[in-house]
Symmetry: C3
C-alpha cells in the first residue's frame, strides 16, 4: 500500500500517453474533487467537468479533447476508465500469500496441493482435489472431492466448492459463493416431490470473477458452464445447466433459470430475472430488474417493468392496467361508431 510510481511508470502500465513530467512521483489515486498533490485522478464523465479545472491532483487520466481543460500533468487515452482500472491495480494491496497449508486446515491425503499454493486456516479439502500453482484459498473455504482449481485463482474466504467442480486460472471468487450445489430438479408423484439426482457439475473458465454469496448449481446430466472472462456480481443465482458466454457481465441479484444459454459479450443489470430453457444472443443487454421470458435472438437493449412513482400516482393509474383490455375494445368500438357518424354526416 506504500507503493509509489513515477508518472512515466503509470503511463506505461496503463497504456496512456504521458503529457508532462514523467519523473513526477505518484503515491495514490483519488477522485478529482478530493485529490491532493501526489495523487492521480481521472476524468471520464462530462458531469464532473467543473471539478477538472480546479483539481489539486498531480495528474489526471483523460481524453485528448479534454486536455486543454487539464490544470496539471496528464495521461491521455481514448479509454480513460480502462487506463484508470490499470492504475488502480498498481496501488492495490497485494493479498498476503504465504505458500503452504495452514496447520488448522484439513486436507485429505488424496488431495494434491501445489507447493506454491496457499491454504489458509480453517480450509477443508476433499480427496482427489487438485489445487494448482499460486492458488490462494482464504480462511474457512470448503473444497469438496475431485475439484480442480487452476493456477493463480483466488478464493477470498468462506467459499464452498462442491465435488467435481472445475475452476480455471486467474479467477477471483468472493466470500459466501457456493459452486456446485444441487440443481433444483424435482419430479412430482401425486403431489409428493422426488429428487432428480444432479449428476453434472460446474465448469468455470479462466479469468472469471464470482461475487459474494453468488450460487452456481451443478448440472442435471451435463455441466453448468461459465466461460472465460465472465464477471458475476454478488447474490446472483445460476441454475443447473445454464451456460454463460465469454466476457458477459452480470450485476447483483440477478437470477437465471435452468438450461438457459446466455451469449458472449452480454450485460445483465441488477435484479434481472431470466426464465429457463431460453437463449440470449451475443450482445444482448438487459436493463435492471427486467424479466426476460422469451429467447432474445437479436442483440440490443431490452427492458421491462413499471418504475417507482409517487404512491398516489401509482395507485390511480396502475389499477387501470386491469381494465386495459376493456379500454382497448371500447376504443375500437368508438372508432367504428365515429366512422359511421362521419359517413352519415357526409
Amino acid at each position: 500500500m506504500a507503493a509509489t510510481y513515477t508518472l512515466a511508470e503509470l503511463a506505461r502500465c496503463s497504456g496512456a500517453e504521458l503529457r508532462g513530467d514523467g519523473g513526477r512521483v505518484i503515491r495514490g489515486v483519488e477522485s478529482l474533487n478530493r485529490a491532493e498533490s501526489g495523487q492521480i485522478s481521472f476524468f471520464n464523465n462530462a458531469k464532473y467537468r467543473r471539478y477538472l479545472a480546479n483539481t489539486a491532483a498531480s495528474a489526471v487520466i483523460l481524453r485528448p479533447e479534454d486536455l486543454p481543460d487539464c490544470p496539471c500533468d496528464a495521461l491521455v487515452t481514448d479509454n480513460p476508465y480502462l487506463a484508470w482500472a490499470r492504475v488502480t491495480r498498481c496501488f492495490a494491496p497485494e493479498p498476503v500469500r504465504e505458500p503452504g497449508v495452514d496447520a488448522s486446515a484439513v486436507v485429505d491425503e488424496a488431495a494434491e496441493i501445489h507447493a506454491s499454493a496457499c491454504v489458509a486456516p480453517g480450509c477443508v479439502i476433499g480427496a482427489g482435489s487438485r489445487i494448482g500453482p499460486d492458488v490462494q484459498l482464504g480462511p474457512n473455504c470448503v473444497i469438496g472431492r475431485d475439484v480442480t482449481i487452476g493456477r493463480g485463482t483466488r478464493l477470498v474466504a468462506s467459499v464452498t466448492v462442491l465435488d467435481g467442480v472445475s475452476i480455471g486460472e486467474d479467477c477471483l471468487i468472493h466470500p459466501g459463493a457456493v459452486i456446485g450445489s444441487d440443481g433444483f430438479g424435482l419430479a412430482n408423484d401425486q403431489g409428493r416431490w422426488e429428487k432428480v439426482a444432479q449428476l453434472g457439475s460446474v465448469t468455470i473458465g479462466n479469468d472469471v470473477e464470482i461475487g459474494a454469496n453468488t450460487t452456481i448449481d451443478r448440472g442435471a446430466i451435463h455441466d453448468t458452464v461459465i466461460a472465460d472472462g465472465v464477471k458475476l456480481d454478488n447474490q446472483i443465482q445460476v441454475a443447473h445447466n445454464v451456460e454463460i458466454g465469454e466476457n458477459t457481465a452480470i450485476a447483483a441479484c440477478t437470477g437465471i433459470s435452468g438450461s438457459t444459454r446466455i451469449g458472449a459479450g452480454c450485460t445483465l443489470a441488477g435484479g434481472v430475472g431470466v426464465v429457463g430453457h431460453i437463449e440470449l444472443a451475443d450482445g444482448v443487454h438487459v436493463s435492471g430488474a427486467s424479466v426476460v421470458s422469451r429467447s432474445l435472438k437479436e442483440p440490443g437493449v431490452y427492458t421491462g417493468g413499471i418504475l417507482a412513482m409517487p404512491h398516489k400516482v401509482w395507485q390511480k393509474n396502475v389499477a387501470r392496467v386491469r381494465q386495459l383490455d376493456d379500454m382497448a375494445r371500447r376504443l375500437k368500438r368508438l372508432e367504428k361508431a365515429l366512422a359511421e357518424l362521419q359517413n352519415d354526416a357526409e
Copy 2:
C-alpha cells in the same frame, strides 16, 4: 459412480414397465441426443421427438404412446420424469460418510451425537444439541445450542443452524443456508429503531430440501414452520413466522414476508415476492417474478409484472402507464359525447 444395473433392476426401482432385454447392462444416464450404448435416456417432451428415433441409448424411459417411435429397449410409464428421477438416483454417487466426529470439529460436551452420525472437519456444535442417527454434517457447519436434527438428514457444508431449531428426518440442506437467524422485528421510538427480541425458533419437517444461501428466520414468539416435503431452491428468504405447507416447492430468489401462510401443494416460481400477513390457499401457483400483495383464497395460477421488450418499445409504451387514469376518463367522456351525437342523429 461405477455402479451398473440391469434394465430389469432399473425397471423395478423406477416403477416402469420393462420392454426388452431385462439383462441388458446400463452404466449411466444421458440425454437422448448424446447417449451412447450402455446408457439410458428419457423422452418426456414432444420438442425433442426428433432425437428419439435416432438415439444411440440402450434404453429410453417413455410413455406407452411413444413406444412405437423407440428404436431400442424401453421402460414404459405414464410419468417418465418420475421414473427418470428414480433412475438418476441409482447412478448418484453416495456421499462419503464415515461415522464419527472429525478431530477438528468442536462439539460441546453437552451435545449428543449419535454414533452413526458423521461430523466433518470444522463443524462447531453447541450445548444441548442432538444429532440423530445417520445424520451427515459436512465441513464447516455451525450448529447452535439445543438444535435437533433427525435421522438421515444431511447438511452438505457451511450450513449455519442457530439455537433451538428443529430439523426433521431425511432433509437435505445446501451450503450457505442459514436457519434460525433473527426475524426483522423493530419498534420505532421517535425515529430510532429498537429490537423486538425474536423468541420463537424454526421447525422443519421431514424430507425437506433447502437450497444454497437460503435464509429462514426464527419466529418472534412462535416458530417459523416448514412442513414435510417442502422443497426450497437457492437464495430464498423466509421471514419470521411464515408457514409453508406440505409439498410446496419454491424456486430460487423468492422472498416471503413475515407471518404469511403458504398452503400445501403450491408452487412459487423464481423471483417471486410475497407480502406479509397474508394467506395463499393450497394449490396456488405463482408465476416467476410476480409480486403477491393480497391473500389468494382460490387455487389457480397468478401472474404480475411487465416482461422485458425491446427498450424502445418499452420506453414508448410504459411511459403511458402514468396516463392511464386520464385515458380511461377521456374514453368515458368520448363514449358519452358520441352517444349524444348518435341520439341527435336519430
Copy 3:
C-alpha cells in the same frame, strides 16, 4: 430463559404505566389468543380486538383508550409496540459469552483481542485487527486484516469481514453476511473486462443490524458507509460507495446499486431495487418490490410494479401495455374527430 419479572419491573423497563398489581410475577410473553396465566401480551392492532376481552394473559400492554376492554392488569402507553419490544428483550436468552479465544480459533499474533471479547471456535482473525471489549465473534467467523470491531458488537456465526472494514459498537451481524467484498468495478477493453481495484473499505456505525447473507461491498476509492442505527434485513446487496443514512431500515432482498445515497429515516420494503448514482431524500419510503430509477428528492411513499392477478386477467390486459402508445394516439384522434363532428352539428 427462566427469567421472571414482576409487572412493576416490566413497567419500569418498558416505560409504560402500571395499572394493576405491580407484584404480579410474569414468566414469559405470548400473543393475546394463546397467552396463559403468568404471561404478558400486547394489543396494538384493532384487527385482534376480539382476542383482547378473552385473553388469559396476566397483563396486556396497550393504549390508554383500550384500557376499558382489558380483562386483566395492564401496562399503558401510547406506543405499545415499543413497550412490547422492551419487554421481549427482558425475556430473550442471553447469548452465552465466555471471554477468551477458543483454542481452535486462529488469531494472527499481530491482532489485538480485548480480554473481555469472546472468540468462538473456528474463527480466523488477521493481522492488525482490533476486537474491542465485550465483542462476541460466534463460530467460524472470518475477520481479515486491519479490521476494527467496536465494544459490544456481536457477529452471530459464519460472518466474513474483509480487510480494513470498521464496525462500530453494539452492532449485531447475522450469519452469512459478507462485509467488504470487492465492488463490481470493471472497465471494458474491446470486449474484455478489466478489474478496477476496489481500494476503499466499509465503515459501519454504531447500533447497526445486518441480516443473514447480506453483502456490503467495499468502495472503489472511498468507503461504503452505513450510518448509526441502520437496520438491514437478510439477503440485501449494498454495492460499492453506497451511503445509507441514520436509522434507515431496509427489508430483505433489496439491492442498492453503486454510489447511491439513501437518506436518514427512510424505509425500503422487501425486494426493492435502487439504481446507482442517485439520491433518496430523508424520509423516503419505498413500497415492496418497487424499482427506483431516479433520485427522489421529496419525502413520501413511492411505488412501482404490476401486482399479481389471476393469470388469465394478466394475460388479457398486460399484453395491451405494448399497445398503450398506439391507444393514446388513437384516443387523441377520436377526441379531435368528435369535436369536429360536434362543431358541424351545432
